[in-house]
Symmetry: C2
Subunit: 172 residues, 2 copies
């Protein structure tokens, strides 16, 4: 199948937002999604965008449920105090009916190509323990599971806890 991978445009945000929710449903945490397509437009398509995105597009005859955009990879730039400029792949998603055709692998490679060109030494991502399919894709391309090999755990402050923490900051 003829699949085109291209940089997302502002007008793709409705479709990206739809797929963000589909991915969250797959990950069994749909209640956590609070984003709107307007926010994605504002944050990703401004002077200093907070993220970049590549979408996978199929020709009209292959469209599913009327959607031409059938997958996406959303990433942003980070920093490693050990290696310098790096990148983080926040989401990688392909609609179920388009899986098994190498689209996910294509999106992943495309992100790697873009961030390499920008001088990033690392590309990181998070994967759920039970999502062996994603783990196998990453591992087959040489990714290291840092939680297993080095013992890293992900921690998060949000909501009231983040507010409280901020409120405890020493005053000048």
């Amino acid at each position: 199948m003829d699949v085109k991978l291209r940089a997302a445009r502002k007008e793709d945000c409705r479709e990206i937002c739809r797929m963000v929710m589909e991915l969250a449903v797959f990950e069994k945490m749909p209640d956590q999604v609070k984003i709107s397509h307007e926010e994605l437009e504002r944050d990703g398509f401004c002077q200093n965008p907070l993220f970049e995105c590549i979408v996978a597009e199929v020709p009209e005859e292959h469209q599913s449920r009327g959607f031409a955009v059938v997958g996406y990879a959303l990433y942003f730039y980070t920093y490693s105090t050990w290696k310098g400029p790096s990148a983080y792949l926040e989401d990688l998603y392909v609609m179920p009916e388009f899986r098994g055709k190498g689209i996910g692998k294509g999106l992943l490679s495309k992100v790697a190509e873009v961030v390499k060109k920008k001088g990033c030494a690392r590309l990181q991502m998070s994967v759920l323990e039970w999502n062996t399919k994603a783990q196998n894709l990453y591992a087959s391309k040489g990714a290291q599971d840092l939680t297993v090999s080095e013992g890293w755990h992900a921690m998060r402050f949000e909501g009231q806890h983040l507010d409280n923490l901020a409120g405890e900051a020493p005053k000048e």
Copy 2:
């Protein structure tokens, strides 16, 4: 003790670089550090900085080994497709002889305050499994261990694997 927390300046990069290495030694991975203070200066103190940093400074009479800067918190802005603008605390470090005085907690709160003001919904970080002291600090302030509660693993491509992956990107 009178400890001042302030935004890092370009001229702090030598001291930050020294502490990056001290932290890596503590984390038992000093071989992974490839950064120089020149790179920190270039990446953190330019038009669109790749990170921000807060340092803890002590008055002359309390200086250890001649250092006025005795701790740092280095962070950058990220993006959550579930919650929007977020932040990541890459490093939090206080020199051994200055621990137990609330400096780490002060740096952490200060980062929370800064990123909250910038509209971040989340502050994330990674912690090593055996580093119970750091885990306890984060947990005592309400951080959630996402690796335990939701099963997230951190994955990374770097070096030859990242090069290979980038080389496999579909051509136009």
